[in-house]
Amino acid sequence: MTPRAIAATRATQPFPYLLLPSFWASRNRARRRERGDGTRAAFFGVVAVGVGGAIFSGSFWLTVQLGGFADFGDYLLRLGLSWLFLSFLSFLTFSGIVTALSTFFLSDDLRLLLAAPVSARRVFHARFARTVGLSSWMVLVFIVPVLAGVGVGHCAPWSYYWLSILATVPFVVIPVAIGTAITLLLVNVFPARRARDILMLMGLLFAGSLVVLLRMIQPEQLLRVESLPDLTDFFATLQSPITPLLPSFWAAEAVFASLQGRFDALHMTALWTTALGLVVLVAAANDRWHFSGFSKAQEARKAKFTRFELLTAAARLLPLAPVRRHMLIKDLKIFLRDVSQWSQLLLLLALVLVYLYNFRVFDLDRNPYMSGVIKNVYAFVNLAMAGLVMSTVCARFVFPAVSSEGAAFWIIRTAPVSLRAFLWSKFWIGFFPVFLLTEVLTVAANHFLGVAPMLRIVSAAAVFLMSLALVGLATGLGARYPRFNADNPSQVAGSYGGVAFMIMAVLFMIVLIVLVGWPSSVFLWYSTTNLPVPARVIVLGGAGFAAAIILSLSTWWFGMRSGVTALESMG
């Protein structure tokens, strides 16, 4: 660089300066609270404290229990820590890849930063710090109460807490640096927007492999008394993926040593040198390849896409009015072309399948405590599970349906289509998939469990009522609290309206389960004891079922009416 060039750039700010807008924005958000921010903060605060407390208590309890087994307990604790860090290692790497794609290549503010006279290295450091923060906060939120629980449960010295932090920081940096390097490579090979799709698929594979890994361990073996001689094999299986070459092993060893009052210099040094070395290497690679990758990221507008001719043809066969048919085709095409949308649904489906598979592999008859009554209680646990899946799917996919029109909503508003018809179209598009998913989940789980036929019918009917009510509520509240300027549907789901929907959905679910659960269990009790059902019980039970139906239909009606009114009174 010429002396003139050096003079021109000498006054530029160090890299933390580039993080200032995020801090200022957070401060402004806190100062100028919008409607519902307090409710949302209180809700998430209570949930966070509850979850944190539960994780801490679980970890504390387990550590105390293991403490009763002397050396074997310590061995299990050491193994557990290795597993904990190993699972986070893979999660952090994947999270680092996805986050780096956004922070280094797709963020809107990059256009501002890269047009300014800021050196590539400063931009890298700021973006990398942001990537580490964004990819690891969830892990830190989980790992802090776990390690605190272990420390308190093991009566660890104070140094344990400091050394745990000292081991966790480089442990988090290493996978994120590797993830950033992978993203840098990917974006230079594929256009960034295409790379995002590829990453989403990779995410699915990652989640799938995690599930397979967990299944391979076959934890249900522990429930079988006759399989005790195989326990050594079980622990051998647990031990096998843990290799001394992985940073997760180093972190676990360093934390375990500090738990016993020792300082494991070897593994701590390995962690810090690897982390720093990787950052230096990735920074150098970034200097060399970031601009070409960023430049490529601007060029992906002409990426190939699927036309879904078959879908259009199939929709033509449906007995729908032209307006509804076109809305259906438009919504489905937009949904299917956005990998980030449907991949999340696939992930949820995978989890549901694992949930069902668990019931399939549990040898229920061998477990003495899985008596008939317990099995039937499980039918309601299943119903609650189906309700939770339904609420989540509704919050994530149905609630943002109106907001997803975004800046294009003027097309609907200026078209000769009534807003009532528009909202009902959104309702039906949401209703059928949600109903089918949860009904299959409930029927299949009840079948594997072998619950009483009456409860199967009650559960199936309850799921139908729940689908009507929750999809109606989500569609209506989504129209009442739209966020047309949101970047993605997750943002809409996390808004004031989204949180309000989740709270109402959970309350509705609890009341519905009580209303159908109480009479069902009473009738079942009379049926198993072969006693005649008194008339009073029949009336009360019938009233319970009727109340459930009225509650569901009125929630459905209230939701939709509220949405239509809100849309029609929109300025």
Binding site: M1, T2, R4, A5, T9, L112
Partner: protein, 250 residues
């Protein structure tokens, strides 16, 4: 002040910018005209340092953008067609951050930010969040930011989009004053009246290549009619108005 030499940008087999050379002198307002998809924004984004050219050279204030990007960018102000502004920052905070990026110290920055906000008639909005701004106000805020660090050259992509007549007049006045103070301005625009009224020289780009350049009078003469309006000249040079086709369709 801004010089580009044989600039080429290829997207796969498609050549968006094909050997463009251009020079904008200090104090000059240079118009960059062309139909949609002709390569105007791609060229401007390459000069701003947001796109990597396939080949060619870009010099800003004597600094090669490829070799000394920070020095080149320090002399440049950029006003994009779809600007990014942090929605949760106030106008004042945004300007202070922007000034910091260009190495301005805090002492000078406060007074200069207020001065620019006043100039672009945003003074009373200094402490308001950007998310509450209209499109025109956001556009004026981005212009305040672009001129904040006293750049020697300014790139403007479609400056008049979304501005009301008062805002448009204000921007024209500011650009003229800046040019009088020696700032080189390269401005892409669809508004031919703006180009005719403001530009010392213009270049017309079509399918990635410059097909005409010079003063407005020279370009008119090139198209064979010095007394014609620039719109007719532009349509003739870039392939007709399509009026005949419209007639046929109707």
């Amino acid at each position: 002040m801004i010089a580009i030499e044989s600039l080429i940008k290829k997207y796969g087999t498609f050549t968006a910018v094909d050997g463009v050379s251009l020079e904008v002198k200090p104090g000059e307002i240079h118009g960059f005209l062309g139909p949609n998809g002709a390569g105007k924004t791609t060229t401007i984004r390459m000069i701003a340092g947001l796109l990597k050219p396939t080949s060619g050279r870009i010099l800003v204030n004597g600094h090669d953008l490829a070799r000394a990007p920070e020095a080149a960018k320090a002399s440049l102000g950029f006003i994009p067609d779809r600007p990014f502004i942090y929605e949760k920052l106030t106008a004042g905070e945004f300007l202070r951050f922007h000034g910091g990026l260009y190495g301005m110290d805090d002492g000078a920055l406060g007074a200069r930010a207020t001065e620019m906000l006043e100039l672009f008639e945003l003074g009373r909005w200094e402490h308001e969040l950007v998310e509450s701004f209209s499109h025109g106000m956001k556009q004026r805020l981005v212009m305040s930011a672009a001129f904040l660090h006293r750049p020697k050259a300014v790139l403007v992509d479609e400056p008049m989009v979304g501005l009301d007549p008062r805002g448009a007049r204000l921007i024209k006045d500011v650009f003229r004053k800046m040019a009088e103070h020696g700032v080189a301005i390269l401005m892409s625009t669809h508004t031919l009246e703006v180009a005719q009224e403001m530009c010392d020289r213009i270049a017309i780009i079509l399918k990635g290549q410059i097909i005409a350049r010079g003063t407005v009078g020279e370009v008119k003469a090139l198209a064979g009619g010095s007394d014609q309006h620039l719109t007719e000249v532009f349509l003739r040079l870039t392939g007709g108005s399509g009026l005949q086709e419209i007639d046929e369709v109707l």
